[in-house]
Amino acid sequence: MRSTGSPRAGQAGRAGRYVVAAAALALAAACGSGGGTASGGGAPAPGHGGFTPPKLEALKSLGPGEGQVNLVAWAGYAEDGTNDPKVDWVTPFEKATGCQVNTKVAGTSDEMVNLMKTGQYDAVSASGDASLRLIASGTVAPVNTALVPNYADVFDGLKNKPWNSVNGVSYGVPHGRGANLLMWRTDTVKPAPDSWSVVFDPNSPYKGKVTAYDSPIYIADAAVYLMATKPELGIKNPYALDDKQFQAAVDLLKQQKQIVGEYWSDYTKEIQAFKGGDSVVGTTWQVIVNVAQGEKAPVEAVLPKEGATGWSDTWMVAAKAAHPNCAYRWLDWIISPKANAQVAEYFGEAPANTKACAQTADPKHCDTYHATDEAYYSKVFYWTTPIAQCLDGRTDVTCKDYSEWTRAWTEIKG
């Protein structure tokens, strides 16, 4: 947020010199707010063997709690009942452990990385496009999973994955996973879309009311669409794009810009845009759909037939955590069957704990979100940080790294 300074208008004195006016322009800084999530899937790990993380020790044994813990989280990951009194798994944690939870909600993975680098936070719910950057820069330490009893019940399909482990060393505990969906307003968008073409077609009837995620990682969404519509480009992994493939994705997004009404990264802004009808179709998260429907907006969402980007999130502990014991207790709490079921249902994702499926309010939740369906998640490409060394294993070309994605994103928005 930003605060503007109030002007102090000096009265022109009687004898006075001219002057006046002006103002102490304390243009204070602004801090972005917002929340969100993201990331996805079946992508092979970046930097697998591509880098050596700094040598850091995991916690050896658990001591008494420090009384508080500072978290960086996606919106909806650490609910304490302020958004909805019925949605609260933070207060029971505080009661059980005596650790007061302070949550900072971040809107993009990039924001998460920057927040963690300040050193003021103990744990983070990092997506795959943040986790490796955090590991490589030594911002997070390995996690001693023996100190997290509930880790034993986590789906094997989520353990020791390239986005949460390096060389067999675990850097966090899996939180859950899901896909970025296509949302539309049921009263204006007919028939119900089942393809991303509705947001990429230059002749879309919804011109000016299309919305897209405001982050360089959104280039991967265009790449996923190109995988299905332009197989001749040979894209195998939307996070491993060589010059030609990258250019095709950028061109597609520049063309998309003509029909975009606005880009969003603050999830409340998207909810408001869909409620007011400024946006009628575009990319979203399940939690946004849930909140918008709760506020009586006529919206639906679907996983389009081309597949989608998505996320597989990991709770990580800062290397310089001031409250490591409370952080470990939080890690154990958030993947405990009950809390993991609650967060998975509220956010709209598949839980990480196998026992969580028995605890959800909707008995079919795990089926709906395909918690055990690896085939489903093969269509979901978890957010991953693009690096120069191609993630799909090609060695004859270099791929575009994230800084180039960022520049291209500025260029796409013009």
Partner: protein, 287 residues
């Protein structure tokens, strides 16, 4: 009086005499705190910004690489997109300034010359009132009004951004002009009238030249505030972006502080050019 107190009093008197004899010591003591602030906190920060602009970051870990390079400025100058964004930002800042001037001048004139002294005080308060509300609340209020289901329903975009910024910075234009016009003696207007000048001519030859420095002061505020803004455009700008957004995205998203610093020098340079141009008009000397 105890010996100690006498000693203290003597010391104070000695110090006072010393300072009295050496005016430059007095002056430098007086100015050292504000100069330190200006030099370290303000110019120092600018210098740090400028130095950072010549570094790069490691793209994967995000760590700063402290080796000198022109790469950031080269990218900035050769990238067509940055030129477009710069021109757009300057355009927005100019439009906001012109709109604010057009609205503020009559308002300030009415406040300074037409209103009774009693209502004048209330008008100043009325102009200041919007500044008591948070920037974000006002920007979001415009978002609600401009949204397609809203009161105005004009939709988002650059026009919406200009409108919102013009609203936000209007007090910063009214106050300097009001102060300037208040200093303008009524007798000058009466004299012009007695000599047969019509309203238009009085304005052109008397009011405008005397109020010009105040107008410039106001325009510096509205222009520089608009040039650096990136929040209003995020809220009501639809898909458009300004210089501020490029800086923000490079810090917030890309974690590329050096490039952000290079981009941030653009508005600094624009403001320097603007101030130099203003100086040539002589407006600053009358300020």
């Amino acid at each position: 009086m105890s010996a100690q107190a006498a000693e203290a009093a003597g010391f104070r008197r000695g110090l006072a005499a010393f300072l009295h004899r050496r005016p430059w010591v007095r002056l430098s003591l007086l100015l050292s705190a504000p100069l330190l602030w200006l030099g370290v906190a303000y110019l120092g920060a600018l210098a740090a910004l400028f130095v950072t602009a010549f570094w790069t970051t490691d793209t994967f870990t995000g760590e700063l690489v402290r080796t000198f390079t022109w790469a950031n400025f080269r990218d900035l100058l050769t990238g067509e997109v940055y030129r477009t964004i710069t021109l757009r930002s300057v355009g927005v800042a100019l439009a906001v300034t012109v709109i604010d001037l057009a609205i503020a001048f009559p308002v300030a004139f009415a406040m300074a010359k037409v209103a009774s002294p009693r209502s004048r005080r209330w008008l100043v308060i009325a102009v200041l009132t919007p500044l008591w509300a948070s920037y974000l609340v006002k920007a979001y209020a415009w978002r609600v009004m401009l949204s397609s289901g809203g009161l105005l329903g004009w939709g988002f975009g650059l026009t919406a951004t200009v409108l919102t910024l013009a609203y936000l910075w209007l007090p910063y234009m009214i106050l300097p002009i009001y102060a300037g016009l208040e200093r303008l003696p009524d007798s000058l207007l009466e004299a012009a009238g007695d000599l047969g000048a019509r309203a238009g001519r009085v304005f052109r030859t008397v009011v405008w030249p005397l109020a010009f420095p105040a107008v410039i002061a106001g325009s510096i505020f509205t222009f520089s505030l608009s040039l650096g803004d990136y929040i209003a455009v995020k809220i009501v700008g639809g898909k458009s972006q300004l210089i501020g957004n490029v800086v923000y995205d490079n810090i917030g998203a890309a974690n590329n502080l050096p490039f952000a610093a290079a981009v941030a020098t653009v508005p600094v340079v624009i403001m320097l050019v603007y101030l130099a141009a203003v100086r040539r008009t002589g407006a600053l000397e009358n300020l």
